[in-house]
Amino acid sequence: MANLKVDVSDLNKSFGDNHVLKGIDFKVANNEVVVLIGPSGSGKSTLLRCLNRLEAPTSGEVSIDGRDISNIKTNIDQARENIGMVFQHFNLFNNLTVGQNIELAPVELGKLSKEDAAAQAKKLLATVGLEDKYDAKPQSLSGGQKQRVAIARALAMNPDIMLFDEPTSALDPEMVGDVLEVMKKLAKEGMTMVVVTHEMGFAKEMADRVVFMADGVVVEEGKPEDVFDHPQNERTKAFLDKVINV
């Protein structure tokens, strides 16, 4: 299937005796936005991190753009250039300025000259609404600003898929909106996205598909209106009740 961006089949992952992912099949089409939900500890982050091999799968296959990520012969650094990732805790490089954070990878990997990287960084900062923060140190930014810089940094490598692991969970409520706006903009531009989040509003509005995970298996998936309004599985129901009632 030419337009399959992510193709995961029978993925298993164990940490010691802890069998975290139990035979996951997970596919994402080109330009599709998939929201991954599920209780804490169900393996959402682990699945996401297997997609760019921050975690090595115990067994099973992971391919991105037809490239076999789970094969150790694959040049993982090259593959990662096309897979952007945004972390819950931003992970901005503390020793660098905002501009340098965004320019580091394109320059170091020979994608752009210093000048071009700087120009691109400024443009990306403008799209996330932080053009005036180019020279700022990460420490001087608010959480919401940090996360938008982190998104800009990931975009600087011009990826064709973006992975978000609870990008708004560490933010004060008033910051969440700004970050979600940036993500919506990305989605509308046709970026392929896998998003782990508890923001059900975002899921309802933007997701092409919602995947519900529990205990290391995919329990239920479908269009957001189907999953949210007519959940088929008891566990999905229980989870949604809890999340929506808070």
Binding site: N52, R80, M85, N91, N94, L104, R153
Partner: protein, 480 residues
Amino acid sequence: MKIRLKLFFALFFASLGLFAWQAPTVHAETTYTIGTDVTFPPFVYANSNNKYVGIDMELIRSIAKEEGFKVDIKPLGFNAAVQSLSSGQIDGVIAGMTITDERKQTLDFSTPYYESGIVMAVAPSSKITSLKGLKGKTVAVKTGTQGAAYANSIKDKYGFKVVTFDDSDNVYNDVKTGNSAACFDDSAVLNYGVKTGLGLKVVTKPADVGQYGFAVKKGQNQKLLKMFNAGLAKLKKNGKYDQIIKKYTGKTATSKTTKSNSEDRTFLGLLRQNQKAILNGILETLKLTIVSIICATIFGILVGLLGVLPNKFARGASTTIIYIFRGLPLLVLALFIYNGIPSLTGTKIPAFVAGIITLTLNEGAYTAAFVKGGIDAVDSGQMEAARSLGLPFGKAMRKVILPQGIKIMVPSFINQFIITLKDTSILSIIGILELTQTGKIIIARNLEGFKVWAIIAVIYLLIITLLTLLSKWVERRIND
């Protein structure tokens, strides 16, 4: 990362190469390295210019002149000299050493050049006049000497305890302070001491009479031994030998030391008289410190980085190196490298190089531990974020992790530099003439323990203060 690592390696091996290249020159032009005692007057001691003089020194130098070879005198201390001889680090020992059957098992001796017996000396006020008076008392001797052997051979018969020291002045001091009731030493030595104002009195006739000989390692340096014998014979014939003996044991010897007794014994006077020796000591200490800091830092960073590589074997190697060299006492490591390894391989290691290797391994192990710790202390999310962008491990390390880790490590580096400076003093054990060994030698001559050690201590503190200020300045620049 690659370029800098290469540079590190290049520097590291270049400095190693430099040392390796230095090593053979020790042997060139038939210069023989001769070990001797720090102080054993009248056979060997430093005069007020800190030049080594005495019967043994004049003999070996005159013989060298007669026979046409050069000598490089190393005042290692008696015990260390004999050990260095058997490990092949030096070519010969002349240190008022009595020829014994036991020593003949491992050493080849020259024809005897002096005859001496063991006598007992006590404090001037002591009531002890014979061996019988020693019952229940403690007796001081110097490690590895004939006096020590004699004392041990009769201690059960006369019921005394033996305490050993590495330097003669500690032996005499112990008797003077009353900790020990008496000491045993060669008659020539003690008679000379008494005459020159040592402050002890000799109360027995020479016993266990023995002969002094120059020694080489058994089966080695036979040419040197032959030349010594030939030279000694010539000196005896032409009267030079008698001249030397008379100079140090005759009446004139006394006048020589009256002069040394009238030395200015104030702090300033001591500093002035020993200016050159102390300055040389400081220079040697600084040289050792700087070279070791550079080598240990490079070695430590390499081993530390090895410990954070995503490879089990690399991490295992790092942990093992740290475990071994942090675990070994510095003293043991120094002796092992200087005396142990050469006695196995048969190749000499110059003391300075052995000292640098010792400090590099030991201080480097500590450095590696905090380099590893500093890197581990950087939030793991930083590495994940860098790798997720496609940056290879090395680049991520160099551009993101190390700059943050180094900031964490800076205080530890400063601390380690200061420790390295202090640890150079331990290298006095292998005879390196750095500040501490210089102090030992000055004291061996003038017995001004308190004042000289106070001077040495103040100098160390001054250097440490300078080093600290320098490091703080560097730290401030790094943090800006």
